[in-house]
């Protein structure tokens, strides 16, 4: 369910970014450029990226080197994979904390022609790390529960 919402949000954001950049190019070509168009596109893009990164995690798209794990006994492999997930959760929790501090810190900075608060951009990181932590926790429990399977 959450995954479908995420895909829908990401799809809409992607469409909006494409259309905004298209509009900016066309209006510039006609000699009456819209300044805010690209700015909004870039704001939406960072939000698109964090949702897409989480969807990438859910569909196992963030690849690493498998060569070592493919050549050890399966119990070691499974243990390493679980340890990796724990390390990633630890890293993301730390980044989540700093992202939150950063969002508060940067809220008062106004950006670009629209003078948007910096937190509109940087808040995406808080949400992104949060989503990734949730996905990894789900994967962690799945792996522990299915320990006996291959």
């Amino acid at each position: 369910m959450l995954q479908r919402i995420e895909y829908a949000c990401a799809g809409l954001l992607l469409g909006a970014v494409v259309i905004l950049v298209g509009i900016a190019a066309v209006t510039r070509g006609m000699g009456m450029p819209i300044i805010w168009s690209v700015e909004v596109a870039q704001l939406l893009f960072v939000w698109l990226v964090v949702i897409a990164a989480d969807l990438g995690m859910q569909t196992n798209r963030h690849f690493g080197m498998q060569i070592m794990l493919d050549n050890v006994p399966s119990s070691i492999r499974k243990a390493t994979e679980i340890a990796n997930i724990l390390v990633m959760i630890g890293l993301l929790a730390m980044l989540f904390y700093y992202a939150w501090n950063n969002t508060i810190l940067i809220h008062s900075r106004l950006d670009g022609a629209l003078q948007l608060p910096g937190s509109y951009y940087h808040g995406s990181m808080v949400v992104g790390f949060g989503l990734l932590i949730r996905t990894l926790l789900v994967q962690l429990f799945q792996r522990i529960r299915n320990w006996d399977e291959v």
């Binding site: 950049v21 794990l69 730390m94 950063n102 990181m125």
Partner: protein, 427 residues
């Protein structure tokens, strides 16, 4: 500190950590332990990494490529390539090489091209063409490299973005080397086919009228790279705007001309693009943090000093860098390699007097070549996975193509004109 970063990165990589996370983990000590920079800066760097207008071209071209496949343009291009070269020795192998060249003009990713061709052409090459599985995998994998040099190429966009080199010039620079590589691979495939008795796909050359009809059907795809280059030349649009334009172009063709684009196909194209985008952007964000950490620690300067202390001969420096890139290409995936290694080696090369556009073409092809070599080769894995080939058999069947690639690299390195003629003449 630089050694600590490199050591941590290697450690997490070997443990099978996703590369994006290995990058972040390796750079944490710089922010946390040394205290020169507060860790919030690391988070800020991730946000800034996404706020680059040229970089928006990457998701656009990924989306456009997936859409093009969904519009049914690919089937028409296969037909055109088949009429064009199917009658030669090696039949479908030649078709796959030419198809990569044509697809290169609308799609920017070698992996996507290789997997599409392995599904589309692979089975009939084995069943009808007399190819062994391994030989099929080899010709498909090597052909896909052409995609990465013909504009629009995701690798060249990333290279231009991270090193501040003009993406338009890089695109133009890739055209001649891409054509040269096509000819080189076709000759190799011809020799291999003659020696192993692979059959041609068509009994004789097609009638000119048949070829012309297929050309007209495919004109929408064939025209695009030309529009792209002309547009750059006259400054009509930037690479990013061209990407957005290509998406509308693909939608238009799919809905009104070929009418093959269904909602289900459209939805799949969107979904695939989003996960592709999530994968590559997370990598870019984390690489930006590590790149920043390495810069604080004066990494590029130290490495430049180290290299120049070994030799100041430009040719020797080029050989050293080439070897380094081949080795790092063997272990790292292409995008990670471009984002991580090129900002470190390009300054060394430009200081030795090499042109950044010329080097960009050479470096990006070298890095893509890494996708074809064990132990870690993304293109190789993709094709072998789809066709069910072991990597050992692949490398054996690929030997003649490795030789062809070597020739290609020597030619690109020694003849700057190959890469620089078009950008100099047109821009």
């Amino acid at each position: 500190m630089l050694l600590t970063i490199a050591g941590l990165f290697a450690l997490f990589l070997i443990l099978g950590m996703p590369i994006a996370f290995a990058l972040a983990l390796a750079s944490i000590p710089v922010f946390v332990v040394t205290g020169t920079m507060p860790p919030t800066v690391a988070v800020q760097k991730m946000v800034t990494a996404t706020q680059s207008f040229p970089l928006l071209a990457v998701p656009f071209f990924i989306f456009a490529g997936n859409l093009m496949n969904a519009t049914g343009i690919t089937e028409r291009l296969v037909n055109f390539a088949r009429l064009l070269t199917g009658w030669m020795a090696g039949g479908l192998g030649q078709v796959s090489i030419v198809l990569s060249l044509i697809m290169g003009g609308i799609s920017g990713s070698a992996v996507a091209d290789a997997s599409m061709e392995a599904r589309l052409l692979g089975p009939s090459m084995i069943a009808k063409g007399g190819y062994s599985k391994a030989a099929t995998a080899a010709v498909l994998a090597f052909g896909s490299i052409i995609t990465a040099t013909i504009p629009p190429s995701i690798g060249l966009i990333l290279f231009g973005f991270i090193n501040n080199v003009s993406i338009g010039q890089l695109f133009l620079g890739g055209v001649l080397p891409g054509l040269f590589l096509t000819v080189l691979l076709m000759v190799t495939a011809y020799i291999v086919a003659k020696r192993n008795g692979y059959r041609a796909d068509l009994p004789q050359m097609p009638a000119l009228r048949e070829l012309a009809a297929s050309f007209v059907e495919s004109i929408w795809a064939l025209a695009f790279p030309v529009v792209l280059i002309v547009g750059f030349r006259f400054g009509w649009f930037t690479a990013t705007e061209a990407g957005a334009f290509l998406i509308f172009y693909a939608l238009f063709i799919g809905m009104f001309i070929y009418r093959d684009l269904t909602w289900a196909r459209f939805y799949d194209a969107v979904k695939d693009s989003i996960t592709d985008l999530g994968m590559i952007m997370l990598l870019i964000m984390m690489a930006a943090v590590l790149g920043y950490a390495v810069t604080i620690e004066r990494g590029p300067q130290q490495i430049t000093e180290f290299v120049t202390s070994l030799t100041s001969e430009p040719a020797a420096i080029l050989v050293l860098v080439t070897l380094l890139l081949i080795v790092s290409g063997m272990f790292l995936e292409g995008a990670a390699n471009i984002l991580l290694v090129t900002p470190i080696v390009l300054p060394v090369l430009t200081q030795a007097g090499f042109d950044p556009v010329h080097m960009g073409i050479l470096i990006v092809s070298l890095i893509n070549f890494g996708g074809l070599t064990p132990p870690v080769g993304v293109i190789m894995f993709t094709v072998c996975g789809i066709l069910g080939v072991k990597t050992g058999a692949f490398t054996k069947a690929a030997l003649p193509y490795y030789v062809a690639m070597l020739l290609f690299f020597v030619a690109v390195a020694l003849i700057p004109g190959l890469s620089l003629l078009l950008p100099k003449a047109l821009m």
